[in-house]
C-alpha cells in the first residue's frame, strides 16, 4: 500500500473541490427550499418580497388549508394511489412472469420470443397508433389506459431475468425432484431469493406511476379520473387556481394564488420526499444492475 503524500497543491484542490460540491448541493436544494418557504409564507408579504427567501415570511398554514380543501387535490390523490398500487402490482406480476420464462434454458421457442421482444426496444408505433389502440380496446377515459399498456418495461424485465438466471440451477433441480411445478418454483424458490431486485424494480415502476402525467393527459377527459400530476399541471403550469382562492378576500386572492401554487407542489411531492432517503440507494443499485448487463 502506497501512502500518498499530499503537496500544497493537493490541499488547494481539495478545498476548491469541496467548496464546489457544497455549491452544487445548494444549487440543487435551494429551489425546493424556496418552494417550501414560499408555501409557508403570508401571501401579501411574499408578493411584496423580492429575491431569495431564506425563511418563511410570517409562517402560517393558510395556503395548505386552501390546497387541502380543494376537492380536485383529494381526487387526484385518490386516483394516483389507485394507479400506483394496482399499476405496480400488475407491472410486477407481468414482469416476473415474463422474466421467468425468459430465464429458462430448455424451451425451443425462448430465443425467437426473446428476439421478438428485443426488437420492440428499438422500434415502436409512436404516439398515434398507440392512442388509437387504447381507444379501440375501450380503455379511453379509464384509469386502465395508464396501467395496462405499460404493464411491462422491457428494460426492467431484462434486469429481472438476469437476476433469475443467477440463481443456481441445482436449487431448481432439487425442487423439481420433490415434485414442484412452474408456479411453485417461481413463487416459493425464485421470488424469495430475488426480493432485493424485485423491490428495486417495484420502486422504479411506482415512482414512474406517481410522476407520470402525459398518458393521463392524452387518455383521460373526465376530471374525476385525473391523477395528481395532471391536477398539479393545471394549477402550477397553467395557473388555474381560481377555485381555491374563492374564500380569500378580494385583492388577497391574487397574492394567494402564488403561495397556493407552491403549497400544491409540496403536497404533491411530499410522499416522494419522505420516501426518498430510503429508496435512493435501491435506485442506485438498480442503475448498477442495469448498466452491468447494458
Amino acid at each position: 500500500m502506497v501512502v500518498y503524500k499530499k503537496t500544497p497543491m493537493d490541499h488547494v484542490f481539495t478545498l476548491i473541490n469541496t467548496l464546489l460540491m457544497i455549491f452544487l448541493m445548494i444549487i440543487t436544494l435551494y429551489p425546493f427550499l424556496y418552494v417550501l418557504f414560499a408555501s409557508l409564507s403570508d401571501p401579501n408579504e411574499f408578493i411584496a418580497h423580492s429575491g431569495t427567501l431564506l425563511y418563511p415570511l410570517s409562517p402560517n398554514l393558510d395556503s395548505y388549508w386552501a390546497v387541502l380543501n380543494n376537492p380536485n387535490i383529494l381526487i387526484g390523490y385518490k386516483n394516483t394511489i389507485f394507479i400506483v398500487v394496482v399499476g405496480t402490482g400488475i407491472n410486477l406480476l407481468m414482469t416476473c412472469v415474463g422474466a421467468y420464462f425468459l430465464s429458462r434454458t430448455g424451451p425451443m421457442l425462448k430465443k425467437p420470443i426473446m428476439i421478438l421482444i428485443t426488437v420492440t426496444m428499438f422500434v415502436d408505433g409512436g404516439m398515434i397508433p398507440n392512442y388509437l389502440l387504447v381507444r379501440d380496446l375501450g380503455m379511453y377515459d379509464t384509469l386502465w389506459a395508464l396501467i395496462i399498456p405499460g404493464a411491462i418495461s422491457t428494460y426492467n424485465m431484462i434486469i429481472m431475468r438476469t437476476m433469475f438466471q443467477s440463481i443456481p440451477a441445482s436449487l431448481e433441480e432439487s425442487a423439481r425432484i420433490d415434485g414442484a411445478g412452474e408456479w411453485t418454483i417461481l413463487f416459493k424458490l425464485i421470488l424469495p431469493l430475488s426480493i432485493p431486485t424485485i423491490a428495486v424494480i417495484g420502486l422504479f415502476y411506482a415512482v414512474g406511476h406517481w410522476n407520470s402525467w402525459f398518458s393521463a393527459n392524452i387518455y383521460l377527459r373526465d376530471k374525476n379520473k385525473f391523477p395528481l400530476q395532471l391536477i398539479l399541471r393545471d394549477i402550477v403550469v397553467e395557473s388555474e387556481v381560481d377555485d381555491m382562492t374563492i374564500g380569500a378576500a378580494f385583492g388577497n386572492s391574487y397574492a394567494m394564488s402564488f403561495t397556493i401554487k407552491y403549497a400544491t407542489v409540496i403536497v404533491a411531492t411530499v410522499p416522494i420526499l419522505i420516501l426518498y432517503p430510503w429508496i435512493q440507494k435501491y435506485f442506485v443499485k438498480g442503475v448498477m444492475i442495469g448498466s452491468l448487463k447494458g
Partner: protein, 310 residues
C-alpha cells in the same frame, strides 16, 4: 441421441411444446399476448401514415394515399422549423448536458471523505425523483416576471421580462434545467465504472511522479472511456428525438419558433388537431431517422473503438 437428431424440426417442436406446456401456457402466452397487442399492433397501425385515416372507418377500409402525408410535411414550413429546433436542442444538450455528469463524477471521485461524498450524492440525485410537472412548474414560476429568476436578474442590474415568452431565453432555460435535474443521477453510471479502475495503476503512477490532476486525466478518464463511448453512441443515436413532455409544459405559441420540435409537433397535429394520418407520418419519418442514426453511430464506434451496443 442419434434418434433425436433424426427427428424433423416440427416433431421436435411438438415434443417441446408438450414437454413445456405449462411454461408456454402460463408464462410465454401472457408475455407474447402483451407484446403482440401493445407493441406489434401499434407497429401494424403505422400503415395509417400511408392512408387517409378517418375515425369512422377501420384501418383496413381507409384508402391508400402513398407518400402524400410525407410530401405535405416536407413542403410545409414546419418541416424545416421542427427539424432545426430538434437538432439545435439535441446538439446543445450534447455539448453542455453530456459532459456535465462526467465532470461531476470525476470531481466527486476525488472527494476522500466518504460520508461527505454520500451526502453530496444523496442531495444531487434528488431532482431525478421529482416529477417533470413539478420541475416545469418551478421553471414557469421562477421565470415569470415577478419570479425568482427575475428578482436575481434585477439584483444584477438587468430588467424584468417574462423569460419563457422570450425566444432568446427558452433554449438556455430548457438546457440548463435539464443539466440541473440530470447531472447527479447521470453520474451514477460513471461512478460505478470508476470504482472498477485498478488501484495499483494509481499507485504506480504516483511512484512515477504523476500529480493528482495527471492521475485523473491519464488513469481515471481512460478507465471510464468505454462507458463514455457507449453513452455517446446512445446520445448521438437519439439526436433526432427530443422528448415532448418537458417542452409541452414549457412552450407557448410565442416560442413555437424556437421550441417546437418534431415530437411536440406530432402531438399537436395528432391529438390536438386530430390529423391522425399526417401526425403518424411525421412520427414515422422521425423514427426512421432515429434508427438510421443509431445504426450509423454504432457502426462508426465499432470500427474506431471496438465498443458497440450490440
Amino acid at each position: 441421441m442419434a434418434q433425436v437428431a433424426k427427428k424433423t424440426f416440427w416433431q421436435r417442436l411438438k415434443l417441446d411444446l408438450y414437454r413445456y406446456r405449462y411454461l408456454y401456457l402460463f408464462f410465454a402466452l401472457p408475455l407474447l399476448l402483451y407484446y403482440i397487442v401493445f407493441k406489434y399492433v401499434p407497429l401494424y397501425g403505422l400503415q395509417i401514415a400511408f392512408k387517409d385515416y378517418r375515425i369512422t372507418r377501420t384501418i383496413w377500409e381507409c384508402p391508400w394515399v402513398g407518400f402524400e402525408h410525407f410530401q405535405d410535411f416536407f413542403s410545409s414550413i414546419y418541416f424545416f422549423r421542427t427539424l432545426k429546433n430538434t437538432l439545435i436542442i439535441s446538439c446543445l444538450n450534447l455539448v453542455f448536458g453530456f459532459p456535465a455528469p462526467i465532470i461531476f463524477a470525476l470531481l466527486l471521485n476525488e472527494v476522500q471523505n466518504s460520508k461527505f461524498k454520500k451526502i453530496v450524492q444523496t442531495v444531487t440525485y434528488l431532482p431525478h425523483f421529482v416529477s417533470t410537472v413539478v420541475i416545469c412548474g418551478l421553471i414557469v414560476s421562477f421565470s415569470a416576471k415577478d419570479g425568482l429568476f427575475n428578482d436575481i436578474i434585477e439584483l444584477f442590474g438587468g430588467t424584468r421580462s417574462d423569460l419563457l415568452m422570450s425566444k432568446e431565453a427558452f433554449r438556455p432555460i430548457y438546457i440548463a434545467s435539464g443539466i440541473w435535474s440530470g447531472f447527479g443521477w447521470g453520474s451514477i453510471i460513471y461512478l460505478s465504472a470508476l470504482s472498477s479502475v485498478d488501484q495499483e495503476q494509481y499507485e504506480a503512477a504516483y511512484i512515477d511522479g504523476a500529480k493528482r490532476f495527471q492521475r485523473m486525466i491519464y488513469i481515471t478518464l481512460p478507465g471510464i472511456l468505454p462507458t463514455i463511448v457507449i453513452k455517446l453512441i446512445m446520445e448521438v443515436g437519439s439526436l433526432m428525438s427530443v422528448g415532448h413532455e418537458k417542452i409541452l409544459l414549457l412552450y407557448s405559441p410565442l416560442t413555437y419558433e424556437v421550441a417546437d420540435v418534431i415530437s411536440t409537433y406530432v402531438y399537436r397535429k395528432g391529438l390536438v388537431d386530430n390529423d391522425y394520418s399526417y401526425s403518424t407520418a411525421v412520427g414515422l419519418f422521425n423514427s426512421v431517422i432515429n434508427i438510421i442514426l443509431l445504426v450509423f453511430t454504432n457502426t462508426v464506434s465499432r470500427r474506431l473503438t471496438d465498443t458497440s451496443l450490440w
